[in-house]
Subunit: 212 residues, 2 copies
Amino acid sequence: MATVNDPNRPPSERTPLDRSAWIEAAIELIATEGIAGLRIETLARRLRVTKGSFYWHFRDRRSLQQALLEHWREGRIRDIHKQTRALPGREAEQLRHVIDVYSASRNRKGILIELAIREWAQRDPEVAEVVAEVDAIRLACARDLFLALGLTEEEATARATLLYAYVFGFSLMHVERMPQEIERLKTRIAGWITGPVAESGQENGSKQGFFG
Amino acid sequence: MATVNDPNRPPSERTPLDRSAWIEAAIELIATEGIAGLRIETLARRLRVTKGSFYWHFRDRRSLQQALLEHWREGRIRDIHKQTRALPGREAEQLRHVIDVYSASRNRKGILIELAIREWAQRDPEVAEVVAEVDAIRLACARDLFLALGLTEEEATARATLLYAYVFGFSLMHVERMPQEIERLKTRIAGWITGPVAESGQENGSKQGFFG
DNA sequence: CGTGCTCCATACGGTATCGTATGGAAAGGA
DNA sequence: TCCTTTCCATACGATACCGTATGGAGCACG
C-alpha cells in the first residue's frame, strides 16, 4: 500500500512519478471500478497530480491500457510458473496449492483484476489475444503437473481445463453459505479435480491410484 | 430481432414504446457494451426516440437498472427450472443437457449478459444479492438431479457446485484450439462431472455406477 | 369542439472526461 | 549565470451524458 505520493507530504518533496506508478494505480482502479472506471483524471486525483503529468508519461488513454495489459500479462506468466514449480513427487500437492492460491477467498483482489480484464477482453480483440495467451500458458503449466502424475496427454489436458475453469467459475459465483461449509466443499471438489477419476466407459482400477 | 421501431418506418406509424421495450433494448446493450455502456441516450438512439420517452417510462437510470435486474432474475429462474425438469431415469442425460445449453458455444449472448451482470455485482451489493439468489436456485436444481441419481446430499452439493463453476469458468476462458478438439475436451469433462467419481480416501465401487 | 391523457421532442443547465496548448518550477550541466 | 531537460499545473475547446422543464401531436371521450 505504499503510494508514491503521500497526501500529507508537502508538494515540495514529492517523488516524481514514472510510467510504472501510473500503471500500478491503474491496476488498483480497475480492481474496484472495472475497465470502464479507468479514467485519467480519476487516476491523477489518486496520485495527487493533474492530467498534465499523465500526458507527459503516456500518449493517451489507449497507451496506458496497453501498458497495463502488458504489465498484467508478464506478471501472470511469471506467477503461474512460480506457483506450478513442483518438487518431483509432490505434484498433486502442488495442484491443490494452485487451486488454493487462485481461489477468490485467498486472492480477492487478484480475482477482481482477472474479471475486469476478461470482461474487457469480451469487446476488445487485442485484449482477448493476451488473455488467450495467458490462459494457454496456465493450462500448459497445470497440464504438466498432471502429466508428471502419469496421466496421458489427453487426460492431462482435460483435467487441467477442468481445474482452471472451475477456479475462475467459482470466483464468479456468489455463494450464500457458512465460510467453514464452503471450505469443506472446496476441499472436496479440489480432491476430485486433482485426484482419481473413473473413466465413464471403462473399468475402474487401471487409471486410478496414479497420484499416490 | 424484432425491433419495435423500424428505422425505415415513417415516424407517423411508430408503435408506442413501453417499459419492456426499453428493458429488452437494455439487455441487448449490456451484452455488447457491459453495464457501463448502458446509457440512456444510447438506448434512445437505438430505439429511434429521444430521452423524453425514457423519462416518461422510467424515473431515472437506476430505475431502468433495477427493472433490468428483475427481468433477468425472473428469466433465469424460469429457465433453470425448465432446463432441469428431467424425466425419472434420465437425470444424467439432463445434466449433460444443462452443461450444453449453458456453455458459451451454444449460448454466446446469454453468457455475455451473465458476465456483464456478474461484473456489475462485484461493485453493487443489491445486484450481488440477486446474483446470489439465482446462483442458489441453479445450484439447488442441479443438486436435485444428482440427488435423484442416488448421491448423498453432501456429494450432490459438491457435484453441482463443480458443474456450475466449471460452466461459467469455461465461458471466461479464451481457448485457442480447433472447435472439434474443444468439443471432445468438453464432452470428456462433462462425463467426469456428471459421471462416476472415485472418492480419494475410499474404496472404489460402492458409489460408482449410480448413473447408468 | 373541448378536454384530458399518453407518449415523445426539444431545449437547458450541470458534470465528467478527453486531449491539447502552454507556462512554470526544480535541478543539473556548460 | 544561463540554458536545457524533466515533470507537472493550468486553461481551453469539445464531447457525451444526466436529469428537468416544457411544449406538442395524436387519440379517446363527453
